[in-house]
């Protein structure tokens, strides 16, 4: 696989939200407005990129200094290792966000610390970064991160438009529009994700 293909796959063919159905919990929770979606997407992409880079380097480092047998035993502590790396980056994001983007950090709230347990990140660390070289891991993280962000924005745009009559906080329909509250409540997230999944599957089926 080429580098470009590694990057592109995260956006459409292996989109973490729509194709791999990973990390749906934050997607359901923060896709109520586009600004939330962008903030969450950026935070996740940063954590994904940093953890993929560090984990890929760590594995490379151990493969250089340890014997075959040593590398096998390192395998036993790989999950705690990954978690420490991921949790550190998430904590960094949390601190930096509340220092420099207080409004965003407040509206995302608990979902920033919860990136630690976002399965996209551990999934990519375990399934990709620990087995591939640095450059490929970086491309994979970028693709997956951007794919996640785009998916979030796609869902959030739909929900914000119908649920509060706005796009990026700009009122579109004027004062008389009665927002469909359901769309920004949890059921709305399920409906929109289901709708998108249906459309994607329909497109795939038509191609065949």
């Amino acid at each position: 696989m080429t580098l470009v293909a590694e990057f592109i796959k995260g956006i459409y063919k292996e989109n973490p939200v729509f194709r791999l159905a990973l990390g749906l919990c934050p997607v359901l929770a923060v896709s109520t407005s586009i600004s939330n979606a962008i903030g969450m997407g950026a935070a996740t992409t940063f954590v994904l990129l940093s953890s993929n880079t560090i984990i890929s380097l760590l594995i490379l480092f151990f493969s250089k200094i340890l014997s075959e047998e040593g590398q096998k035993s390192i395998n036993k502590i790989r999950i705690p290792m990954f978690i420490v790396v991921i949790a550190s980056f998430v904590t960094i994001v949390e601190m930096v966000m509340s220092a420099y983007f207080p409004a965003l950090s407040e509206s995302l709230g608990i979902f920033i610390p919860l990136i630690v347990v976002n399965c996209i990140i551990l999934g990519r660390a375990e399934g990709f970064a620990s087995k591939n070289s640095l450059v490929f891991s970086v491309m994979d993280a970028l693709g997956m991160g951007i794919g996640f962000t785009l998916a979030l924005i796609a869902i959030a745009a739909f929900r914000e438009l119908l649920g509060s009559g706005q796009l990026l906080g700009v009122n579109l329909f004027g004062g008389d529009y009665k927002p469909v509250l359901l769309m920004i409540l949890p059921p709305g997230a399920f409906l929109v994700i289901g709708l998108y999944l249906g459309i994607l599957h329909w497109l795939d089926a038509r191609k065949k």
């Binding site: 601190m95 207080p102 509060s164």
Partner: protein
């Protein structure tokens, strides 16, 4: 055995680096985070009492006790703010305080400004995490037209007016979020009642409702 020690050392080393990096970043961001919090309080104070030039906090020492009742140390807490219209702190125009209420899904923190005779000058929701589109609308401060919630409807209200319409009062609650509206209204009322004794506010005759 040899393996266990080796793995422990590797893991300890990784966590050590992580701890070091985190400590550094904590040190960098901490003053900034505190600054942001303070700025938010100041902004809310300015909003509820726009005429105030000086807002000295009134602090109270709260003893922190251990199990046997011995005082361990004293914790300082801001009870309310005094608002003066001049820098020399001569002309008292009112007070400001924070009210805390438990809403539908979060604690709601509200900054309230009152004048010297106990009328609310304005309120401002400082923090809340209520349902988006329902309870979260509590922050809305559009001009109050009479049938929709707005924080502006609190202007000029006194203790006894603080009751939501569902409880037979005059505060128009947020459609679909009575709990949030009630939490805000009642928390302000409770705090005002608590402070009436401490502030020099003439206590009004409570009119018994029938």
């Amino acid at each position: 055995m040899h393996n266990v020690i080796r793995l422990s050392i590797i893991l300890a080393f990784i966590t050590l680096i992580a701890a070091f990096v985190l400590a550094e970043i904590y040190n960098i961001t901490k003053p900034r985070i505190e600054e942001q919090k303070l700025a938010k309080t100041q902004e809310a104070l300015k909003y509820v009492l726009p005429d105030a030039q000086s807002l000295p906090p009134v602090k109270k020492k709260i003893p922190v006790k251990d199990g046997k009742g011995n005082t361990l140390y004293e914790r300082e807490e801001i009870v309310y703010y005094k608002a003066y219209s001049d820098q020399q702190e001569q002309n008292l125009i009112g007070y400001a305080f924070k009210a805390y209420g438990t809403g539908y899904s979060s604690n709601i923190e509200t900054m309230v400004g009152i004048d010297t005779i106990g009328r609310i000058t304005h309120i401002r929701i400082i923090s809340q995490k209520e349902t988006p589109g329902l309870g979260a609308l509590a922050e809305n401060s559009e001009p109050f037209k009479g049938k929709k919630w707005s924080t502006q409807q609190f202007i000029n209200k006194q203790i006894d007016d603080l009751k939501v319409d569902k409880d037979g009062g005059t505060i128009v609650s947020i459609t679909g979020a009575t709990i949030t509206s009630r939490a805000i209204t009642n928390s302000i009322k409770a705090k005002m009642q608590e402070l009436t004794g401490e502030l020099d506010i003439p206590i009004q005759e409570t009119v018994e409702e029938d």
